[in-house]
């Protein structure tokens, strides 16, 4: 469900450093921000931490916010950066995949559990910038325009990142003896 835009006077007060306005915006946007971050990190505890980190960054940057623009889009951009920072700092050997990965609705019966695990593992080893673009575009099926705005890049750049992610994923899988 899309978040309704906050009234201009609340945004203006937030911009001036009003603590109550910040609380109002936090309560209004925390759910949507969490969902966006969860799409990227896919872990509830980490998504909660990054939501707090996102709003901490928002709080610090209040004076730079333009009340004429969308708060939700601004928050999503900051959230994407915070999630990217998390993915960059997480050691690759710490990425653990559950044994019982939830099955996608369009599950191909020809894809074995082992193949799914290997694919998910190879995907987790992709560079974070490529992984975020591919996750949002291919797995979450978010509109390219929305992804571009959140990552602060052009739509063409999103397409390039998705293309490179798939090419690199294929290369990793081939190295493991899997021919997609």
């Amino acid at each position: 469900m899309p978040v309704l835009e906050s009234p201009t006077h609340v945004l203006q007060r937030f911009c001036n450093g009003d603590a109550d306005a910040f609380e109002t915006l936090f309560r209004q946007h925390q759910g949507e921000t969490y969902r966006w971050i969860f799409r990227i990190v896919r872990d509830p505890a980490i998504a909660e931490d990054i939501t707090i980190e996102t709003f901490w960054r928002i709080h610090r940057a209040h004076a730079r916010f333009d009340p004429a623009r969308s708060f939700a889009a601004w928050a999503r951009r900051i959230a994407s950066n915070a999630a990217l920072d998390h993915l960059k700092s997480a050691p690759k050997d710490e990425i653990e995949l559950p044994d019982d990965l939830p099955q996608p609705p369009s599950m191909d019966p020809g894809i074995s559990q082992e193949l799914r695990q290997k694919t998910a593992g190879a995907f987790a080893r992709l560079p974070p910038k490529l992984r975020i673009a591919a996750t949002l575009a291919l797995i979450e099926e978010q509109p390219y325009k929305e992804i571009a705005e959140a990552l602060d890049i052009s739509v063409a750049a999103v397409k390039v990142r998705v293309f490179r992610a798939l090419r690199l994923l294929r290369k990793h899988l081939k190295r493991e003896g899997i021919e997609p």
Binding site: Y34, P44, T51, F55, Q103, P104, P180
Partner: protein, 85 residues
């Protein structure tokens, strides 16, 4: 574009499609995962974070105290300090 280039392009496109299909088959959309939506109000945690960060750390106070002691011991340094500020 030669016939060979066209064949290579088609192969690459179908490779990509197969890899994409495999990826979609391997990872479910987040909406199917548990706790995809926020289960609790995070305001208390946020409030805590704001309070922690807004409190002046002890080493800031120690630094201020050191500067005050230093200026009390060497008052002639005050104009020099003001000049550099």
């Amino acid at each position: 574009m030669t016939l060979n280039d066209m064949t290579t392009k088609d192969t690459n496109a179908s490779d990509r499609q197969r890899t994409e299909r495999l990826l979609k088959g391997a990872l479910a959309p987040s909406s199917l995962l548990p706790r995809a939506t926020l289960q609790r109000d995070l305001w208390t945690s946020m409030r805590q974070r704001l309070d922690e960060r807004s409190a002046t750390p002890w080493f800031d106070w120690a630094l201020i105290a050191a500067v005050v002691v230093w200026l009390a011991m060497f008052p002639r340094a005050i104009p020099v300090l003001l000049y550099h500020l």
